[in-house]
Homo-oligomer: 154 residues x 2
């Protein structure tokens, strides 16, 4: 069964996805390096910008990210003065975010760098192929995956 296993694992959807993510992540990170932002940070700043002073939960959901992970990831951006937070007026449990002027400027700077990477990537794989790939990935992200609850025997 070893051979079957070996062939099987190369079919692990998760491993394949992570492998590609590491590769592409480094490429975008390199492209963004002059701005001092990582790909993840860039994406987060962008998401904050397009939202209307979004709540943390809203961003976490949009990025399919754990709420606490979002909090952690946000810290360096707040520390560096790119993002500021404030409590919602009507519900003090909710914390909203917005870009500072510096954050906006940094984002504008990063967008140019991002555009170059994006262009190069699409030059290589083809705009259409890239769009198809993203569509497939979005479909995966939206799947209602959940392991059966370990089959409660009763």
């Amino acid at each position: 069964m070893t051979e079957a296993q070996q062939a099987g694992f190369s079919r692990c959807n998760n491993a394949t996805l992570r492998r590609a993510a590491r590769r592409l992540g480094r490429f975008y990170d390199d492209a963004l390096a002059p701005s001092g932002l990582k790909g993840t940070q860039f994406g987060l700043l962008f998401q904050i910008q397009v939202g209307s002073e979004p709540a943390m939960g809203a961003i976490a959901e949009a990025l399919i990210m754990d709420l606490s992970a979002l909090g952690h990831t946000l810290k360096p951006l707040i520390r560096d003065g790119y993002v500021e937070t404030f409590a919602d007026k009507d519900d003090r449990r909710i914390k909203r975010m917005r870009l500072t002027p510096q954050g906006q400027a940094k984002l504008d700077e990063a967008i140019k760098l991002w555009g170059a990477a994006q262009r190069q990537f699409e030059d290589m794989v083809g705009t259409e192929q890239a769009a198809k790939l993203r569509a497939a990935l979005d479909a995966v992200a939206d799947l209602d995956l959940e392991m059966p609850p370990a089959a409660p025997s009763s």
Copy 2:
């Protein structure tokens, strides 16, 4: 330009990939949870198994992972007694790895759990679709991406 930007970012190949990776990663992690392994660790153990006492560099390359990152990721597995390392006989710079008996047992246990996740995922997206997606991801992983060296002006 804000609207164009907003539409544009939803087209960020990197962000889309990471989003899907977070989603799928949690799914496989949940499935593997009973074994105490994470998806990444499972993949690493598997890769070590199929290799012939592979060198660290070989594994890092196969997984498109930074060599130092591999070293870090390996530590908990060594600490827990699943993997052991030893120096290559002919080149003492090279460190090779192999599974311990416990590591092999743990991997066998995890493979069953992994199979269930894999099956469920493919039931939802279709075996063929999944294969196409993996092929596309492998193509991305194998791209010769590199930012033009910041255009040396001379």
